[in-house]
Symmetry: C2
Subunit: 464 residues, 2 copies
Amino acid sequence: MARKSSLLKRTLASLCFILALYAIINTFISSTATLKLDRSFPFSSANSVIVSDEFSSQDTDLLNSSGKSLSPVKIYLYDVPTRFTYGVIENHGIARGGKPVPEVTDLKYPGHQHMAEWFLFTDLLRPESERIGSAVVRVFDPEEADLFYVPFFSSLSLIVNPIRPATGSDQQQRKLVYSDEETQDAFMEWLGKQDYWKRNNGRDHVIIAQDPNALYRLIDRVKNSILLVSDFGRLRADQASLVKDVIVPYSHRINTYTGDIGVENRKTLLFFMGNRYRKEGGKIRDMLFNILEQEQDVIIKHGTQSRESRRAATHGMHTSKFCLNPAGDTPSACRLFDSVVSLCVPVIVSDSIELPFEDVIDYSKIAVFFDSVSAAKPGFLMSKLRRISKERILDYQREMKKIKRYFEYTDSNGTVNEIWRQVSQKLPLIKLMINREKRVIHRDGDEPDCSCLCSNQTGIRARL
Amino acid sequence: MARKSSLLKRTLASLCFILALYAIINTFISSTATLKLDRSFPFSSANSVIVSDEFSSQDTDLLNSSGKSLSPVKIYLYDVPTRFTYGVIENHGIARGGKPVPEVTDLKYPGHQHMAEWFLFTDLLRPESERIGSAVVRVFDPEEADLFYVPFFSSLSLIVNPIRPATGSDQQQRKLVYSDEETQDAFMEWLGKQDYWKRNNGRDHVIIAQDPNALYRLIDRVKNSILLVSDFGRLRADQASLVKDVIVPYSHRINTYTGDIGVENRKTLLFFMGNRYRKEGGKIRDMLFNILEQEQDVIIKHGTQSRESRRAATHGMHTSKFCLNPAGDTPSACRLFDSVVSLCVPVIVSDSIELPFEDVIDYSKIAVFFDSVSAAKPGFLMSKLRRISKERILDYQREMKKIKRYFEYTDSNGTVNEIWRQVSQKLPLIKLMINREKRVIHRDGDEPDCSCLCSNQTGIRARL
């Protein structure tokens, strides 16, 4: 009996040992594999590095069952002269009474709706281990890169001077004044000399010009690149398009509403606060003021940017059911993102607006759209809004809650990752165009050779 | 001592038991996870199902560290009436003296350069476990689908009748004659009734029309869809484009050259065999015949399709350094793919040619391009070819060897997978357009609203 029991024990022990060994080996192997897979998760396997990698890569671990490379989209961050990055921040400070600093790279970007250029730049500067879920990985050898990021702070450069620079004859004064124009020209001179810029005529470069007027002197020279812009208000169809470029959101400046969905604490039906007078499409604003000023449950106020007005806007957006988003000088406005994070249903009156991340966001689920002709008809807009049920408003709010992370630049899985994902999606077409241009036949006098995607059949028809 | 040993044994046994339990649980969990991850490998994580999945998916295992869904691109295969698939094969047989068959689904597609429609259809019919490395996964519930594949054999339908159908008054004869036109119309009638077709005006549908004349009656009604075509020779810019559509290769009809790279067994400098007389861009053929017929080391022969001429073409392509690829009635020709699998460097004289998979294939590395004006100058083409070194030819051959799997429809990691990868890359822009059309403002009389990618700066300039 004792021998039998001992034999049983020994058999059990051996079995356990084998199992344990298997457990340890297996656990080790799978966690290694998982680690490798994890790195590949956020990246599109559908990118064009496949061919070259497949033939040159030593990294056979990173090949999947079909032999395809799982390499991420590789981006090279240009080491641009600090004049074009931190130097712009310094000048922005100096123009507001600040002093030059000993180490410009210690400077932080001033809070602003055009902060995308800061967030994207600093994201790429972070160690790769902190860039979780990013669709692009930074490479330090340009030869490896699929794409090239050029981090010129073009939007901040535009507003360094609160007003136009003085043109007086006082040399001393002129020297101190910052010139966006000069900076743009110096930037282009620098960029134009870069070998990788010349290699594909800039097609594989990513350039940010978030303010609709940013880089205005250079657009024709950088139009081959993937542009990160807020809208196409100042850009012609041959300069920018939904196919080539990425629409990026403004940083919201209103605090995120942290409460739950609901209409009980939102007594105001429609809220707007902002500049009444705007050019071009923004002329609708004055018309809307005339129509809406006398309406019940509507707060519509003319106001310019200040700490006080931002406080009032925050209160208004957090306590209203709908927030009016009329066009500004150009179709986009940061108010849309303020509305979304406030869970205040955007009422968009901007006929040519383009919206960020529209492949993953169905804006008809979070916003109400009016064409400007209909919106300018007395009574039309308000009667439509009054007919929207509480349940429908809650649906809009629910959807906004789901998608608002896309508009949070500071969210580790927010705007920055989404912009890179959008950029990485451009790569196949960019690679196609680069390869195609090496062999395509052109004749002098040919029309530009364009590939287009057109929309002319559906959508909201304006009632003229 | 005995007690001590027993205690030790019991402790060991318990430890082993715990380890074993851990092993089993861990192994189970990781293999489940690995299985799921494996399925996600070939698929782009950068697709637009992210939002909806994230909010509705129960499948939390399929979320990565950043919370993004790893769902593949999901494609629904329409169960079209057999009239539009196997029925076309049957009619093709009948028109050549065959008999109706009891079970049409037993039929195999006749060997032909337009076999893509057969390979794509049968690929989707295979069990998912055999579809290794595919960028799309078939779903059986259309509600889950990102894209919809419509498997009408439009190219075979076009050539069911070797000649135009009889128009005599003999009713019996007319009844037997197949009509591509009628089939196209019946197909459109069927497609137009499908709810998912109507939902997004066909934008998320994938339709194959490989022969440049296939579906010619319907193109304007299916132009919103992703079209799989050989070239844009018969298509206007508003019907098809590199942005929306996918260029698919013809099936090569010459056997693959299985030998190594080298020029020793390739005594002929330039080879061509095919129809001398073609319309439109193909008029270059007759000019090239006139120039090249008298050249040394050149074999240029007029020939039409037959078993005999295919044997001669195989021999010619396998024993020549360069193979001429002039435009046909439309810019593309199956000869290009015959050349590549023959390791015979293609000499492409076709100004408007579009090439398959150009995001991953740099054709300037595998082929020589001449604009037709230069190629038609006596002596020009031959003097250029004669100056190409042996080393350069070996480079071309080496590259062809690397990429030829892209032109092998029967390779499990060949053309079919690559076409699906190209299709899946269209999804973000398709989703964007679908979402955008729900809210975009149109005015009657507006110009079509187009997003384009243009090329007008580089490439080979024609020397007029």
